[in-house]
């Protein structure tokens, strides 16, 4: 229905025959129906829950959780509330998702570029990798990695000790970490400042190169800033350094930081699975770039590596970024499979809570809201990036 808005006066019939008015009326009626159905569903559900004497409401979040969690990046004890338990689950999910996205991108890009290699063996091996890991369901892959990691190493009393203070057992890899010291937040601040300065230096160097043609070693300068500034802060504070070493006490290692086999299995499984998809997307993006571009780059004397980085990939990114955004969202949502292998991420904790309190609907609502927020954030970030790197059409 086209809305006519010409300034020329036209023969006006009854207003209810006007297509524009009709369009608005239909939309109001439709929205009204949707709201009515939604309100009815919610009130019916609440009435049924009340009739069956099932508790409702989010008040349970302030009750004591009374269950322990295996991996707690922040301090948590069974005396804390359900809300804090959810927070622990959320942080575990974000850890796996963030690391997974970074590693999957690196792996996927490498495999994707390798798929187009001149070397026959590399081409075939990467083809086999992609075809295998794309086609096996993810839960099976996770079980496989988890079983392997559990069987691979012995118990903690016979743990492998290849490097001093680093132990590998079937409870995970445990290694020493520096103990907390007040200088560390300052070092983190120095790192952030170094990163910002690096970005500014690069921008300045690019502008200078565009004007004068002289290159500037902004990469090395950036590295020096990022490593050097925190180091300066550290030295200035008198080099306070103490290691928290893991020791075998009784059943397990105490101290240091442990990476559990559940976390490792989930991370490896997700990275390899999503990496296979990203590899194909990267390959498609590269092949979408006009062959003339790489010929022209070669004619200009650019090395293969430079041609890929400066000519092909920037154009390929336009094709690559939207599907890769979907893969990032898939990876985040697939991290919910951690509940099968014992990794205490958000869905696992929500499941336990739902079972203990009986409030399944509130629990599912929380899970949905959290995943929706994470997914929308990732999409928004990637869309911003997409617009930033998008080359204007010729």
């Amino acid at each position: 229905m086209a809305i006519q808005s010409s300034p020329v006066s036209r023969p006006r019939g009854a207003f209810w025959n006007d297509a524009g008015v009709r369009g608005i009326v239909y939309q109001i009626v439709f929205v009204g129906i949707v709201v009515l159905v939604g309100w009815y569903l919610v009130s019916n559900t609440l009435a049924n829950l009340h009739r069956q004497n099932i508790a409702t409401g989010f008040g349970f979040l302030e009750r004591e959780a009374a269950f322990a969690i295996g991996e707690t990046p922040i301090a948590y004890s069974p005396a804390d509330t359900y809300a804090r338990a959810f927070l622990v689950g959320l942080i575990n999910t974000l850890e796996v998702a963030a690391l997974g996205i970074v590693l999957a991108t690196i792996l996927g890009t490498m495999i994707g570029v390798a798929r187009l290699s001149g070397n026959w063996l590399i081409r075939k091996l990467t083809l086999a990798y992609v075809d295998t890991f794309r086609n096996i369901p993810l839960p099976l892959q996770l079980f496989f990695w988890w079983a392997m990691l559990r069987q691979a190493a012995p118990g903690p009393r016979q743990a492998w000790n290849l490097l001093p203070d680093i132990f590998v057992s079937n409870r995970g890899v445990v290694f020493p970490v520096p103990e907390y010291d007040p200088v560390q937040p300052w070092m983190a601040l120095a790192l952030a400042i170094g990163a910002v300065l690096t970005v500014l230096v690069r921008r300045w160097a690019k502008r200078r190169q565009a004007l004068t043609g002289e290159q500037f070693p902004s990469g090395w300068v950036g590295l020096a800033l990022i490593l050097g500034l925190p180091l300066t802060v550290f030295v200035a504070a008198g080099m306070p350094f103490a290691l928290d070493r893991p020791e075998l006490k009784g059943f397990n290692f105490v101290g240091g930081h442990a990476i559990s086999p559940e976390f490792t299995a989930l991370l490896i499984g997700l990275v390899i699975y999503t990496g296979a998809f990203i590899a194909e997307i990267v390959r498609a993006g590269i092949q979408a770039v006009n062959w003339g571009q790489s010929e022209a780059a070669a004619a200009l004397g650019l090395r293969q590596g430079h041609a890929m980085r400066l000519v092909i990939l920037p154009q390929a990114l336009r094709v690559i970024v939207p599907p890769v955004t979907s893969q990032y969202l898939n990876l985040t949502k697939n991290s919910s499979l951690g509940v099968f292998i014992g990794y205490p991420e958000l869905v696992s904790i929500a499941d336990t809570t739902m079972n203990q309190t009986g409030q399944a609907i509130e629990g599912i609502t929380i899970i949905m809201a959290v995943y929706l927020t994470i997914s929308l954030t990732i999409s928004a970030g990637m869309n911003l990036y997409n617009r930033a790197v998008a080359l204007p059409e010729r």
Binding site: W16, I33, V37, Y40, N44, R51, Q52, N53, I54, A55, A66, F67, A68, I69, G70, S77, P78, A79, R150, Q151, P154, G155, N170, R171, K249, G250, F251, N252, V254, P261, E262, V339, F340, I341, G342, P344, S348, D351, T352, M354, N355, Q356, T357, G358, Q359, A360
Partner: protein, 345 residues
């Protein structure tokens, strides 16, 4: 007005919405009506707890909880085969019962205050008095649960086990690391592969796991501490007193039969007995069945199908089974246990 070509689709949409509203508003009838109409009892069981409800290699379910459902079907229909078993994980079990997917949850579920009140459930009489324990490998050299400071413990999520575990370690001021795995097979395999130092669940479950899943049962020991009370009882939905009563008295009849000396072998002779209690129970004197809304031979059919409580116990978890558990608390009150049937009169 709205043109003729659009009138029909709009009318259809409105009619559909209206019927949808009315259809959803219709109430579900009481459980007994539904069960009688379908001719089958839908019984929620576990995914494989040895001795309570586990499928054999042909997919047939056996166990103590399974026998309770068989008794219920026999009491209602005279045929213990009229049961549909729905395997449920610990996470799914309550939602399945609340939503009406199963009529009775016979799944070694502990009777607790929160479950009785906030989940909208009612519990039938306890069929097994259990307690939570720990299973450890003998080679760890642990003699008591209080020596488990710093241990890794395998546990299933969403169970009272998880909560009791945290409470026990808190009360004794020792620490532990939980490894929480949902599927029963996976948690048992994680324990036997050495991922955890200890496995905790009800003591009957530990006995079943050790007897059936351990590579060498003699390498494992159940620690002496029983850290909680776990009265296992079947559960039904709140708001259906008729169904609740039937399930309750089906269980009591099994206990009453053992108390009166009735078992599946002497059942027919007992129908000729002069004892008025026996005559009332077996339906020779009518009245009990009518009061419950079932056939007069309800108790007779039950016992014929599965035997009395003692037979059920010995066959599934007692001396005739791999678990070899003693009656202990689950013996009749006349022999010092806790099993006490209300009078069937």
């Amino acid at each position: 007005m709205i043109s003729a070509s659009l009138r029909v689709p709009f009318a259809a949409v409105f009619a559909l919405a209206a019927t949808a509203l009315f259809a959803v508003a219709a109430q579900a009838g009481p459980t007994l009506d539904k069960v009688k109409q379908n001719g089958i009892v839908t019984c929620g069981v576990s995914t494989g707890v040895a001795g309570f409800s586990s499928p054999d290699n042909q997919g047939r379910y056996t166990g103590l909880d399974v026998d309770v459902c068989k008794a219920l079907a026999a009491a209602l229909f005279g045929d213990a085969g009229k049961v549909k078993y729905v395997p449920l994980s610990a996470q799914q079990r309550f939602t399945a019962l609340q939503s009406g997917e199963v009529d009775i949850l016979s799944r070694n579920t502990t009777w607790t205050l929160q479950r009785d009140t906030q989940l909208g459930l009612n519990f039938a009489p306890v069929v097994y008095y259990d307690g939570q324990g720990f299973l450890v490998a003998k080679k760890l050299g642990v003699k008591s649960a209080k020596e488990l400071d710093g241990a890794t413990v395998c546990v299933q999520p969403g169970t009272t086990t998880e909560l009791n575990l945290a409470d026990f370690f808190r009360a004794n001021k020792i620490n532990f690391k939980p490894v929480v795995i949902e599927k029963l097979d996976e948690v048992e395999s994680a324990f036997f592969s050495g991922r955890c130092d200890a496995y905790t669940t009800d003591a009957s479950g530990l006995a079943g796991t050790r007897a059936t899943k351990a590579p060498n049962p003699d390498d494992y020991v159940i620690l002496p501490e029983i850290i909680s009370k776990e009265p296992l009882a079947p559960a039904v939905r709140q708001g259906d007193d008729e169904w609740n009563d039937i399930v309750r008295w089906v269980v009591y009849a099994l206990l009453e039969a053992e108390e009166r000396g009735i078992n599946s072998k002497n059942l027919d002779e007992m129908t000729k007995s002069d004892d008025p209690n026996v005559k009332r129970l077996l339906g020779v004197t009518p009245g009990m069945g009518k009061a419950l809304g079932v056939d007069e031979k309800w108790a007779y059919n039950e016992i014929k199908a599965v035997g009395n409580y003692g037979e059920i116990f010995e066959r599934n978890v007692g001396k005739d089974s791999p678990l070899k558990l003693a009656r202990g608390l689950n013996d009749l009150w006349t022999r010092g246990g806790l099993m006490y049937a209300m009078p069937v009169r």
